[in-house]
């Protein structure tokens, strides 16, 4: 089952706009390699989970995978063939709001080659353009 918050203040949220780039969560912190979003967008809980499973199946018991995004935003929709009006739709799924530059996943404990192959599989499932990144040098 996909991720979702345990407790929320409001059942529904407004759509909002994705403005600017990620100034937080834009560097590899926990692992050695990361997958960075190059576009903004909503990434649904199902997609995050699908990516996690794809990576985990490739890694097997080697290395460690870190998921850096969480679906905090409830996305609503109105049923098909419904007349206009009658208020906002019901929550359908949960999504993570991703700004360009956000690190989506991180991997540690594997070689760079293995991490690249793993993220290549995972990247196919992402609804935004992504790229492979390394940890920034320590200064």
């Amino acid at each position: 089952m996909a991720m979702m918050p345990k407790r929320v203040k409001h059942r529904k949220s407004q759509r909002g706009r994705i403005r600017g780039n990620a100034t937080r969560g834009n560097r590899v912190v926990f692992g050695d390699y990361g997958l960075q979003a190059m576009q903004g967008g909503w990434i649904s809980a199902q997609v995050i989970e699908a990516g996690r499973i794809a990576a985990q199946q490739y890694l097997r018991t080697e290395g460690r995978l870190y998921v850096r995004v969480f679906p905090h935003k409830p996305i609503t929709s109105i049923p098909l063939e419904t007349r206009m009006g009658k208020g906002k739709g019901e929550p359908e799924y949960w999504a993570a709001v991703v700004k360009p530059g956000t690190i989506l996943y991180e991997i540690s404990g594997v070689s760079e080659e293995a991490a690249r192959l793993c993220f290549a599989r995972l990247a196919h499932k992402m609804p935004v353009k992504v790229r492979f990144v390394r940890r920034r040098p320590t200064i």
Partner: protein, 212 residues
């Protein structure tokens, strides 16, 4: 080993001029420290990137200035592709400096052969050492790390006269049993349906109150 960097005194300020400077293949920089006046500089980006790539921390500034400095801070763009600005701090020969150095693991842990996974929790460490002997990296040996074991910062191999500034009891690396796929999937499965609303009473309580 200190690398040489050719610097120019920079009089241009403001974002448009700085953007032009970056397009021309130079990176804005600043030099400060030792109670002297700070100086705005421009450094060739290629040279700076080479210094960073080689892991050098001490640089000899040549050209408009003849000084020795350490790289204190780097500003990166949002994607971590380009260096936007660099801070240099003046240092004397044999001065003791506080600096962060990357931490790497050395050796093979027996716990991995038993089926465990190494999890490195600390990737950089703060040390105080002579400016001439700043290590590129410091290492922690994991030769004796078994399954469900851990190694703390006290085991870090430091260069002579270097002092550890971080808490020596901090766990650097641990060897844990790998999580099974099914076990991981079971965690989010517990949260099904809709999440609880903060500040809203459960429906059963609301119904009871209405009845009363």
């Amino acid at each position: 080993m200190a690398e040489e960097v050719t610097v120019e005194i920079r009089t241009d300020q403001g974002k448009r001029r700085i953007r032009r400077l970056r397009k021309a293949g130079k990176t804005p920089a600043v030099l400060y420290g030792h109670g002297q006046a700070s100086v705005s500089l421009a450094v060739p980006t290629e040279q700076l990137e080479a210094v960073i790539r080689h892991g050098s921390r001490v640089v000899k500034l040549r050209g408009a200035l003849q000084e020795q400095a350490i790289i204190r801070e780097l500003q990166w763009d949002i994607y971590g592709l380009e260096i936007l600005h660099v801070d240099f701090v003046r240092v004397y020969e044999h001065e003791m400096v506080e600096i962060k150095v990357p931490l790497e693991l050395r050796g093979e842990a027996p716990g991995v052969k038993e089926g465990g996974v190494l999890e490195q929790l600390v990737h950089e460490v703060r040390i105080q050492c002579d400016v001439n002997v700043i290590p590129e990296k410091v290492y922690v040996s994991v030769h004796g790390l078994g399954l469900n074991g851990s190694v703390s910062l006290a085991a870090v191999e430091l260069p002579p006269k270097a002092k550890l500034l971080d808490d020596p009891e901090t766990v650097v690396v641990q060897c844990i049993a790998p999580k099974e796929m099914e076990e991981e999937e079971a965690i989010p499965a517990a949260a099904s349906g809709e999440p609880e609303l903060i500040g809203r009473k459960p429906e059963q309580e609301e119904e009871k109150e209405e009845e009363e």
